[in-house]
């Protein structure tokens, strides 16, 4: 059996690795457009911050692929997909046939379609090559503007600031940071914490043009205002790389559509990771890509396995600060009870949302203590009963909640 895997990001690599665990004789070929062996993308943040050298970005020691008997072809692009013949075209010349295939082509950064987006000095961060060219440009010490106040944008801003660039501004389209994970109070607190670290913010702004002589020098916003910028880093979402799949006629929507076995509309061709859309959902996250890769590997090995979706981790580390956000965080309508506690001085914010006595949502910012227990309560939609009034206390013994189960 020959399996071809398109892409050697996390999904492609973990599919190959797991398939090898399950089947010592499978022929496995991984084709990778990037010329580097597998590296986890979060390491790029530390690389950007100057805390991890280039040679330490990689996950596996030299010789790993050979030991695993994985044929990994680096610096090769799949340029065509023949789903009837189950074959790929590589670099427009070579043709390779397989018995089954996996699309693990991931995603690229979503770039807003505005004038000047291709100007010199505009960057994004997805690959080692992106990081290297950004770093090279940053060595001239420009004022940096990060477009996007989501998780990635905040991490990038903090990393650049850590590297020693003092002028770093994050621009966000919504009027608060992390709109998906935080309410207004929480976002305000996070922002002031990050401001204390030295970052600057501009909220509720939509960039409409990136202008300059040759390189970027100015960003113009919809409301007529503008901001000086020597370098722009775009972090405003991802776009699954589904061109090959679309051309080959595989069912697709925002991502390549897969069923509960992670199979595409063509039997024998699977998809995993940022390119895959399962039950309408594209996760864009490592844990989900990992779960999917493992499921695909089992199915490739003939050990049929179902994927029911992944539960994204609730506790995040945003620019060094702990944030837990679970369930409903900004309730609308009647019948909700909200308990909260804000301690600006210590950067703490806790919020609990109850409906009919049951805990349906929570935000825990600045503290990890209790976050796991609270998340568990939200997931089980438990009624905290006698402990309700104590939950927000910093010294509450969260192990007492065990009596509720």
């Amino acid at each position: 059996m020959r399996t071809i895997i398109l892409g050697n990001g996390l999904a492609g690599t973990m599919t190959g690795r797991t398939l090898r665990e399950l089947d010592s004789s499978a022929e496995i070929t991984i084709i990778s457009q990037e010329k580097y062996p597998y590296y986890p993308r979060p390491n790029l943040i530390d690389f950007l911050a100057g805390e991890l050298p280039l040679n330490r970005l990689f996950a596996f020691p030299p010789g790993w692929a050979e030991k695993q008997k994985l044929e990994i072809r680096l610096g090769k692009e799949v340029t065509g997909l023949d789903v009837d013949e189950m074959a790929v075209e590589i670099d427009r010349k070579e043709r390779l046939k397989a018995d089954q295939m996996v699309l693990a082509t991931g995603a690229s950064p979503l770039l807003p379609a505005i004038p000047g987006i291709d100007r010199k000095g505009v960057f994004c961060l997805r690959t080692i090559d992106d990081a290297v060219s950004l770093l090279e440009f940053l060595s001239t010490g420009p004022e940096v503007v990060v477009l996007g106040g989501g998780l990635l944008g905040l991490e990038i801003a903090r990393a650049i600031h850590k590297r020693g660039l003092k002028q770093v501004t994050v621009v966000e389209y919504f009027n608060r940071l992390l709109p998906r994970q935080l309410d207004e109070t929480g976002a305000g607190l996070l922002q002031s914490q990050l401001e204390k670290m030295g970052l600057k913010f501009l909220l509720g702004k939509e960039a409409v043009e990136i202008s300059g002589q040759e390189a970027v020098s100015l960003i113009k916003f919809k409301d007529g205002s503008q901001l000086t910028a020597g370098a722009v880093v775009v972090a405003s979402g991802i776009r699954p790389r589904l061109e090959l799949a679309v051309k080959a006629g595989l069912a697709s929507n925002r991502g390549v559509v897969v069923d509960d076995f992670l199979q595409t509309s063509r039997p024998g061709i699977y998809a995993a990771g940022d390119v895959a859309e399962h039950r309408g959902r594209i996760y864009g996250l490592i844990p989900a890509a990992f779960d999917q890769a493992r499921t695909v590997a089992y199915n490739l090995a003939g050990q049929i396995k179902k994927y029911e979706g992944s539960i994204p981790a609730n506790t995040l580390k945003v620019a060094g600060l702990f944030l837990t956000s679970a369930g409903l965080i900004s309730p609308e309508g009647e019948g909700f009870e909200v308990l909260s506690k804000l301690d600006k001085e210590n950067g703490l914010y806790k919020k609990l949302i109850l409906k009919d006595g049951q805990l349906v949502g929570a935000i825990w910012l600045g503290s990890k203590k209790g976050s796991q227990e609270i998340t568990r309560l939200v997931q089980a939609q438990k009624n905290p009963g006698p402990y309700k009034s104590d939950l927000l206390a910093d010294d509450f013994d969260f192990s007492r909640l065990n009596s509720l189960y």
Binding site: L10, Y38, Y39, P40, P42, N43, D46, E51, L52, R56, F58, A59, F60, I286, P287, F290, A313, T315, L316, K317, K368, K369, Q372
Partner: protein
């Protein structure tokens, strides 16, 4: 001994188990792992780990 969790992928390092695949014997505290040790699941560096409570 304390367990540590990978913030990128959720892998949990348990000192009682170690990481035998990478020659880390059981009983090795997280702090004593070599600097170039990486998450056995997703490959991020040690800095991405946080102590669990």
């Amino acid at each position: 001994m304390e367990k540590w969790e990978c913030t990128a992928c959720g892998y949990i390092y348990d000192p009682d188990v170690g990481d035998p695949e990478h020659d880390i014997p059981p009983g090795t505290p997280f702090e004593s792992l070599p600097d170039d040790w990486v998450c056995p699941q997703c490959g991020v560096s040690k800095e991405f780990f946080q102590k669990m409570d």
